[in-house]
C-alpha cells in the first residue's frame, strides 16, 4: 500500500502506465498476436527519442525560454557527416561516430555562443542556427547515397533474446544521466539555475559555464542520434531528424519535467517515449488513416498535459 502511494506520487509512473495501457489495448485488439515483437520494435524506436529527449530535458530544465530547436537540423547534418566519414567501411565506424559527436558538440557550442554574444532568447538563437545548419546539410549531403558500413548497420539492429542491444546501452546511459542530474555538481547546478538563476549565481554557481555545457551536451546527443539513425535506417538524409523536434519536447513534458524549469525527470523520458511509439503502433494496428493518427496523437498530447495540469505560479 505504501509502495503504491509512493509510486503514485512520482510523475514518471503515469507515462509508463500510459504505455502499458496502450500496449494492452493493442494486444487485446490483435488477440495476443505479436505482443513480444511489439515491445522489441517499440524499444528499438524509442531509443532515438530518448537520446535527444535527455538532451532536451537538461536544456528545458535551465528555465523558461530554454529550448533547443536546432536538434532536427543537427541530427540531419550529423547523420550525413557520419555516413561520409565511415564511407561504408567497417574500419572507420569509430572515427565516423567521433566525427558525428564532434559535429553535434560544435553545433551546441555555437548555439550557446549566439545566446551569450547576442543576448537573444535561446529559441531564436537555436532557430537561426538551425536555418544555417540546414543549408550546410543540403549543400554537404547533396546526392549522398552512402550506405552505412555493414558492421554498424548490424550493430544498431542487434538483438539478444528480442531485446535490442542499443536499448540496453541507452538504459545504462539514462541511468548515468539520472545520476549526473541528482547526484553530481553539474546536475544540481542545472536544477538550481532552473529554479532561480539569480539565486544560483549568488550561491556561486558558474551560470555561464553550466549553460554552455548543457547546450553542448544537447548538441552532442543530437549528433550521436543522427549517426545511430543513419545506421538503423540504412542511410542519411536531410529530413531524417524532422520528427524529433516535436518528439523531444513532447517526451520531456509528458515525462513529468517542468516546462518552467528547475524540475527534471529522467525515467519519465523513457516512459513517454515508449508511450508515443506504442501509441503510433496501436493506431497503425487499428488501421486508421494518417490523418486520424495525427489527430489522435495531438489530442492525446493536449489531453495528457491538461490532465497533468500546469505548475502553480510561484508568486
Amino acid at each position: 500500500m505504501i509502495l503504491v502511494r509512493s509510486l503514485a506520487g512520482k510523475p514518471w509512473v503515469w507515462s509508463f502506465l500510459g504505455a502499458l495501457v496502450v500496449w494492452l489495448a493493442t494486444i487485446a485488439f490483435t488477440g495476443g498476436y505479436g505482443a513480444g515483437g511489439m515491445v522489441t520494435a517499440a524499444l528499438s524506436l524509442a531509443v532515438f527519442t530518448v537520446i535527444v529527449g535527455v538532451g532536451q530535458m537538461f536544456v528545458i530544465t535551465l528555465g523558461p525560454g530554454n529550448v533547443d530547436l536546432s536538434l532536427p537540423a543537427n541530427i540531419g547534418l550529423a547523420s550525413a557527416v557520419a555516413m561520409k566519414v565511415m564511407a561504408g567501411s567497417d574500419s572507420m565506424i569509430v572515427v565516423g561516430l567521433l566525427a558525428a559527436l564532434a559535429c553535434g558538440a560544435a553545433i551546441g557550442a555555437v548555439n550557446y555562443l549566439l545566446i551569450w554574444a547576442l543576448r537573444i532568447p535561446p529559441i531564436i538563437a537555436t532557430l537561426s542556427a538551425s536555418f544555417i545548419i540546414q543549408s550546410i546539410d543540403i549543400s554537404y549531403g547533396r546526392g549522398l547515397q552512402i550506405k552505412p558500413p555493414p558492421g554498424f548497420a548490424d550493430f544498431t539492429n542487434w538483438q539478444i533474446l528480442g531485446i535490442p542491444v542499443l536499448a540496453v546501452l541507452t538504459v545504462l546511459f539514462t541511468i548515468g544521466a539520472a545520476i549526473a542530474l541528482q547526484r553530481m555538481i553539474y546536475g544540481r547546478s542545472v536544477l538550481a539555475i532552473g529554479q532561480n538563476i539569480r539565486a544560483a549565481w549568488l550561491a556561486g554557481v558558474n551560470v555561464g559555464r553550466i549553460r554552455f555545457l548543457t547546450y553542448t551536451l544537447s548538441g552532442t546527443l543530437g549528433g550521436i542520434d543522427g549517426a545511430l539513425l543513419a545506421g538503423y535506417f540504412r542511410g542519411a538524409n536531410v529530413d531524417i531528424g524532422n520528427e524529433y523536434l516535436l518528439a523531444s519536447i513532447a517526451v520531456v513534458v509528458i515525462g513529468g519535467t517542468s516546462v518552467a524549469g528547475g524540475k527534471a525527470n529522467v525515467p519519465g523520458v523513457w516512459g513517454a517515449a515508449l508511450f508515443l511509439v506504442l501509441l503510433l503502433t496501436m493506431l497503425n494496428t487499428f488501421g486508421v488513416s494518417a490523418g486520424v493518427r495525427l489527430l489522435l496523437t495531438g489530442l492525446i498530447i493536449v489531453g495528457v498535459i491538461t490532465a497533468a495540469g500546469g505548475e502553480k505560479a510561484v508568486r
Binding site: G65, V67, L69, L114, A117, L118, R119, I120, P121, I123, I124, L127, S128, A129, S130, F131, I132, Q134, S135, I136, I138, S139, R142, L246, I249, A250, V253, V259, A260, S289, A290, G291, V292, R293, L294, L295, L296, T297, G298, L299, I300, I301, V302, I305, T306, G309, G310, E311, K312, A313, R315
Partner: protein, 326 residues
C-alpha cells in the same frame, strides 16, 4: 519601473538626448534591415526594383505577414504558438475544398476553428498550462484534420479569392499596399485603443492588471481568438496565391512567423511588440526567401541560411544599440 524613471530624470539632458537617439535607432532597426536587404537586391540585380519585380519577389509576403501578426498577438500575451503553421495549412485545405464547394459550411468550419483558438486560450489560462506544449499538440491536430479534409494535394481556390489576390493596382504593387494596410489596422487596434493597451498589459504585468480588475481570462481568450482570425486570413490569402492546396503547405510558417515578430522588434516577454515592425519583419523574410534569389547567384541550397544570417545580423545590431541605451 519607478527606479528606471527616477534614473532617467537624474540624467543630464545630453545623456537623455543620446538615449532618445538610441531608442529611435532601435525603433527604426526593422525598417533599416528591410532597406539593407532591398539595397543588396538592387545592387545585385537593378531590374528587380520595378513594379513587376516587387510583385514577384513579395508574392508570398501577404500570407507571411498575416501569420506573423497572428503569432504577434500570442507573443504579446507571453505565450508562443507552435501550431500556427499547420493551422494555416488546415485553413488552406478548407478554403480550397469546402469554401469553394459549399461556402456556408466552409465559413462555419473557419469560424469554428477561430472558436477552437479562443478555447485554447481559456484552457491555457485556466489550467495554467505551458502554451508551447499545448500548441505543439494542436499542431498535430491541425495537420491531421488538414489531411482528412484534403488527402491529396489539389482542390481549387474560390474565384472571388483569386480575383482579390490577383488585383493589380496602378503604380504600387498589391503586396506592398496590403502589407501597409495590415500593419496600420493592427497598429491602430493594438497600440492606439484602450483595450489594446490592456491586451499588451496582460503580457507586460499580469498581476497589476488583475489587481486593477481586468479579467486575464478574457484577455487571453481575445489574444488567441485574434491569432486564430489572422491565421484564417493567412491561410485564405495563401490559397488565393497558390490557387490549390496541400496539407503541408503552411508547415514553414511557424518558424517564419516567430522570426518575423522578433525581427520586427518584438520581445518574448513583457508584451513588447510592434505590429508595423512585425509586418516589416515578414517582408524582410519574404524577400530573403524569394525565388528571385536564385537569379542573384545565391544557390538554392543557401537560401534557408540567408534567413538565419539575416536574423543573426539584425539581432547583433540590436545588441550594439541596446548597449548604448544603458
Amino acid at each position: 519601473m519607478t527606479a528606471a524613471s527616477l534614473d532617467t530624470t537624474a540624467r543630464s539632458s545630453a545623456e537623455r538626448g543620446a538615449l532618445a537617439r538610441a531608442r529611435l535607432l532601435r525603433g527604426l532597426l526593422p525598417a533599416l534591415s528591410l532597406a539593407l536587404v532591398l539595397a543588396a537586391i538592387a545592387w545585385l540585380n537593378p531590374r528587380a526594383i520595378s513594379y513587376f519585380g516587387f510583385s514577384l519577389m513579395l508574392n508570398l509576403a501577404i500570407p507571411i505577414a498575416l501569420a506573423t501578426i497572428a503569432q504577434m498577438f500570442v507573443i504579446s500575451g507571453n505565450e508562443l504558438d507552435l501550431s500556427i503553421g499547420t493551422f494555416v495549412g488546415f485553413v488552406g485545405c478548407v478554403t480550397a475544398t469546402w469554401l469553394k464547394d459549399a461556402p456556408l459550411i466552409g465559413v462555419a468550419i473557419l469560424l469554428g476553428s477561430i472558436g477552437v483558438y479562443a478555447l485554447l486560450g481559456a484552457l491555457i489560462h485556466l489550467r495554467n498550462l505551458p502554451s508551447i506544449v499545448v500548441t505543439l499538440g494542436m499542431s498535430f491536430v491541425w495537420q491531421g484534420l488538414a489531411i482528412l479534409v484534403l488527402p491529396k494535394p489539389g482542390g481549387k481556390a474560390p474565384d472571388w479569392l483569386l480575383a482579390i489576390m490577383s488585383f493589380k493596382p496602378p503604380l504600387i504593387p498589391f503586396p506592398i499596399i496590403a502589407a501597409l494596410l495590415i500593419g496600420l489596422v493592427v497598429h491602430f487596434g493594438l497600440m492606439r485603443t484602450s483595450y489594446g493597451v490592456i491586451l499588451r498589459g496582460s503580457g507586460g504585468n499580469p498581476a497589476a492588471l488583475k489587481r486593477a480588475g481586468w479579467s486575464l481570462l478574457k484577455t487571453k481568450i481575445v489574444l488567441f481568438a485574434l491569432a486564430g482570425l489572422f491565421g484564417v486570413l493567412s491561410g485564405m490569402a495563401l490559397i488565393g496565391i497558390t490557387t490549390s492546396a496541400d496539407a503541408n503547405i503552411g508547415n514553414g510558417y511557424t518558424l517564419l512567423s516567430i522570426a518575423g515578430v522578433i525581427l520586427g522588434g518584438g520581445e518574448f516577454v513583457g508584451g513588447r511588440v510592434s505590429p508595423i515592425g512585425a509586418v516589416i519583419g515578414a517582408l524582410t523574410l519574404a524577400l530573403a526567401a524569394s525565388p528571385l534569389l536564385t537569379f542573384m547567384h545565391i544557390p538554392p541550397d543557401w537560401q534557408v541560411a540567408a534567413n538565419g544570417a539575416i536574423l543573426i545580423i539584425v539581432l547583433a545590431a540590436r545588441v550594439l544599440i541596446s548597449r548604448k541605451e544603458r
